[in-house]
């Protein structure tokens, strides 16, 4: 071990100790309030119930594993389709986004009815939570090769398949690994949410039980174990990636927007229209194919009646609008605050490099903590008002933004920085003129991917903790059988997420066309 490594290890150990101490002090301070359980109590609980937790963990990990496999396989298949039929790229990506934006709260019960008892919904929800974060980097990765590699293939008269096998596949490997790394904790979260739909065992089941039983030690122990496993999964896939890959992708979730031909607005509207049609068709065909009962599996025409032509349609629209606006006023400030804090902290860390070494691993780790375990805890600590929910959304947005921005800031070309050093420019000037522009692509990539994540966070918080807004509306249909409202809410959430995503993408394009037109070249 080198002196530097020993030094790092010592610093990390110190950090862990400090966190434990703070945690202990905080728990002592709120003793008896049933909010926070200290490290000793959590350790005691784990020691006493290790067999129970172990069995539950094994069940959830298995389901998460199968979901991880299925979801990533689906992502790879989708990418294969896109690679071989490049014209389908935009529309496949759009539909993949729509499916990714379907709220877990609502898809869970539908899947349960489809599958009946068993691990089906858990595995499917895990798969649904991972496929998009693999699909997008892979899509970028397949194009992440110098033009001359593609020329080389064409020079010998070779087509899409050979190019795919010889160039794209290997060029995409680092991107695939980056996607898989994010997917690992997401699969665990999906499996836990799946357990809320009527599983007999697993970490999700235990966490509901602990929360209802006011068993704070158990709640925190389960949350921490879930978090630890998610972080481990993240780390393990990362280690595997370093072993397998020949290089790291330049920017995580790098963006490669199409070069707009003709009117971008018109194209966007056209794409949205086609996507809408395809999604409506898929929705209707899937339900007819599975012959799902109209009692809960509403078709587009049911929703049209419910929201437009039925006698109570106006009231239905009003209820949906009220819940949507409740959700909106919490998700937007949380999202913006999370992004801004992430970017600002990243800049601070770049100005104070020794701090970055300590904070970055922590931030990467915290990014993988499952939201279902943190949401109730944060609301418990911050109260039932908007503050709690906004904080949850901000936390969900903050960590990906921070990690992406730090990586982005490091993309600043070394020669440009050296050039500035020659003129003895201040670190602030270097930040402004070289590092922030270099950070923008990563920042926007994180901003786009954070839209569905923020919506997931807000609906989960509303469902599990605050009991208002769209999340609660969707969850409560189980008692009111108002499945029209459930599907209407699904549509609102999915459409809203996609719209937000498109808005960020539009903003990204507008910014780049001003400051860095070269980024827009596909």
């Amino acid at each position: 071990m080198t002196a530097q490594a020993r030094h790092d290890l010592a610093r990390q150990a110190l950090g862990v100790l400090a966190v434990l101490l703070l945690w202990h002090l905080a728990a002592q301070a709120v003793l008896g309030s049933y909010m926070l359980s200290g490290p000793v109590a959590v350790a005691t609980y784990l020691a006493e119930h290790h067999a129970l937790i172990g069995r539950a963990l094994w069940v959830t990990v298995q389901n998460a594993g199968w979901g991880f496999l299925a979801g990533n396989l689906a992502a790879i298949l989708l990418v294969l389709v896109v690679a071989l039929l490049p014209r389908m790229r935009v529309i496949v990506a759009a539909i993949a986004l729509v499916v990714f934006c379907l709220p877990l709260v609502a898809t869970g019960p539908v899947l349960r009815v489809l599958y009946g008892p068993g691990p089906g919904p858990q595995i499917t929800l895990a798969a649904l939570s991972v496929y998009y974060t693999t699909f997008i980097p892979l899509l970028v990765g397949l194009r992440a090769a110098p033009a001359s590699w593609f020329d080389l293939m064409r020079l010998y008269g070779r087509g899409a398949w050979t190019t795919f096998v010889q160039v794209r596949l290997m060029a995409a490997l680092p991107y695939l690994m980056a996607g898989l790394q994010i997917a690992a904790p997401a699969a665990f979260l999906g499996a836990m949410v799946g357990e809320f739909t009527g599983a007999e065992r697993g970490m999700g089941v235990l966490s509901i039980r602990a929360m209802r039983a006011l068993d704070v030690d158990a709640t925190w122990a389960i949350a921490l174990v879930a978090a630890a496993v998610s972080m481990l999964a993240y780390g393990a896939v990362g280690a595997l990636a370093r072993r397998l890959s020949h290089g790291r992708p330049d920017i995580l979730m790098a963006t490669a927007p199409e070069r707009a031909r003709g009117n971008a607005m018109l194209r966007g509207a056209g794409l949205a229209g086609v996507t809408l049609l395809v999604v409506l068709a898929l929705w209707w065909v899937a339900m007819e194919a599975f012959d799902l009962s109209r009692f809960f599996a509403k078709r587009p025409d049911d929703l049209w009646r419910f929201l437009v032509t039925a006698p109570g349609a106006e009231g239905n629209r009003a209820a949906l609008w009220a819940a949507s606006s409740q959700t909106l006023v919490q998700v937007v400030p949380g999202y913006l605050a999370g992004l801004a804090l992430g970017a600002v902290l990243a800049m601070v860390l770049v100005l104070v490099p020794w701090l970055a070494g300590a904070v970055l691993p922590l931030a990467i780790a915290l990014r993988s903590v499952p939201i279902v375990t943190t949401a109730p805890l944060i609301v418990l600590a911050l109260g039932r008002g908007s503050a709690g929910t906004i904080t949850i959304v901000a936390v969900m947005t903050f960590f990906p933004a921070l990690v992406a921005c730090i990586q982005g800031l490091r993309q600043a070309p070394g020669q440009a920085l050296d050039m500035m050093r020659i003129y003895a420019t201040s670190p602030l000037m270097r930040l402004w003129h070289a590092q922030i522009p270099a950070m923008l692509p990563a920042f926007f990539a994180a901003a786009r991917m954070s839209v569905p994540a923020a919506v997931l966070a807000v609906t989960v918080a509303e469902w599990l903790a605050t009991g208002r807004g769209l999340g609660a509306l969707m969850a409560m249909t189980a008692s009111t059988s108002n499945y029209n409202m459930l599907w209407a809410a699904i549509v609102v959430v999915a459409a809203g997420s996609c719209l937000g995503y498109a808005l960020v993408a539009w903003l990204e394009r507008a910014v780049f066309s001003r400051v860095a037109p070269e980024q827009l070249r596909g």
Binding site: L52, V113, P117, L214, S293, R294, F295, F296
Partner: protein
């Protein structure tokens, strides 16, 4: 305790699977055994102990029925599996069932496990809610979707609902204990027990004592099943009735059975035994003593219809169909 100590048999069935089935087959039961499912309304717990007893003691097997008990959960719907036929019977509640019927589900209530609704207002002793009037000027924590329940209670007891501050929470006692609210709208059989087990005294005002009459833990089946699968429904309900009667006879054994059957559910004995105790008065009454478990009368149905009307769910008495129970108890 010894009477129900047959969970070993259950474990054998689970572990040996086919072997257990063959042993049953040798008894000649397997040949005519029909498989059905009962969709529970929540995670496995002593809340459904009567069903576990029916299963373990062969009350269903004796009638040629094999019943799969499907767990519910916070995000698990009860009504859709019954509509689609995935489950023959579901455990719902009068208000949930009424909503589903309003939405076009062809349901009938064929049994009532809880004569009295467990909805309650829980509060802490130094700031108690002993009667509905006490809620005025207080902060109540509940999911917003339960507003109709609170409104109905207020209307029934002449409470000014505008003087109650509603704080949206989910189903969790922590906001009350942490002082974020003064009272909670919850079931008397869960959050108050959680506080009790944690050593926190609480005051529980049962809403059923203040005019909020609603059947709960109701058995629902589709009209189609009632017409075409009567024998299965009778067998299922007969097993339920016997199971719950055994439950009442020995709560300790029922609790132990539940704990043994679901070692992975994270159940603890103090909570489960307390819940087992507290649900007894909700399930058994003079009415059931006279007529049998699950029974109802035109009078109780009429009071249910009144409450449902206040909740904005007009239903008529035909929603309740006693023919299965009459066959069971007849």
């Amino acid at each position: 305790m010894t009477r129900f100590d047959i969970s070993r048999r259950h474990l054998m069935q689970m572990g040996l699977g086919g072997v257990g089935a063959m042993a049953l087959g040798a008894r000649g039961v397997m040949a005519q055994e029909t498989s059905v499912a009962l969709q529970l309304s929540w995670l496995h717990s002593v809340q459904f102990a009567g069903s576990y007893i029916a299963d373990e003691r062969g009350f269903w097997a004796d009638r040629g029925l094999s019943v799969r008990l499907d767990a519910g959960g916070p995000n698990a719907p009860v009504e859709p599996p019954v509509v689609t036929g995935n489950a023959l019977v579901g455990i719902s509640a009068a208000d949930y069932t009424a909503s589903a019927v309003q939405e076009g589900a062809p349901f009938r209530i064929i049994g009532v496990a809880m004569q009295n609704n467990p909805f309650a207002i829980a509060s802490l002793p130094d700031n108690p809610v002993n009667e509905p009037k006490d809620m005025e000027g207080k902060r109540i924590g509940m999911p917003l979707a339960n507003m109709p329940v609170l409104q109905t209670l207020a209307t029934l007891n002449d409470v000014d609902i505008d003087r109650i501050e509603v704080i949206p929470t989910q189903y969790d006692a922590a906001p009350l204990v942490a002082g974020q609210v003064d009272c909670l709208l919850c079931w008397s059989t869960d959050l108050p027990i959680a506080m009790y087990v944690q050593g926190i005294d609480s005051v529980t005002m049962l809403m059923a004592d203040f005019g909020y009459t609603l059947h709960s833990q109701t058995y629902i089946a589709t009209e189609d099943s009632l017409a075409n699968r009567r024998a299965d429904l009778v067998a299922l309900m007969a097993g339920e009735v016997m199971g719950w009667e055994e439950y009442r006879r020995d709560l300790d054994a029922a609790t132990d059975l539940t704990l043994a059957r679901f070692p992975d559910a994270g159940l603890d004995r103090p909570t489960q035994i307390e819940q087992a105790r507290r649900q007894v008065p909700l399930m058994f009454s003079d009415l059931t003593d006279a007529n049998g478990f699950g029974w109802w009368t035109d009078d109780t149905v009429a009071r249910n219809i009144e409450t449902l009307a206040l909740l904005g769910m007009p239903v008529d008495a035909a929603l309740w169909d006693r023919s299965i129970l009459e066959e069971v108890h007849g």
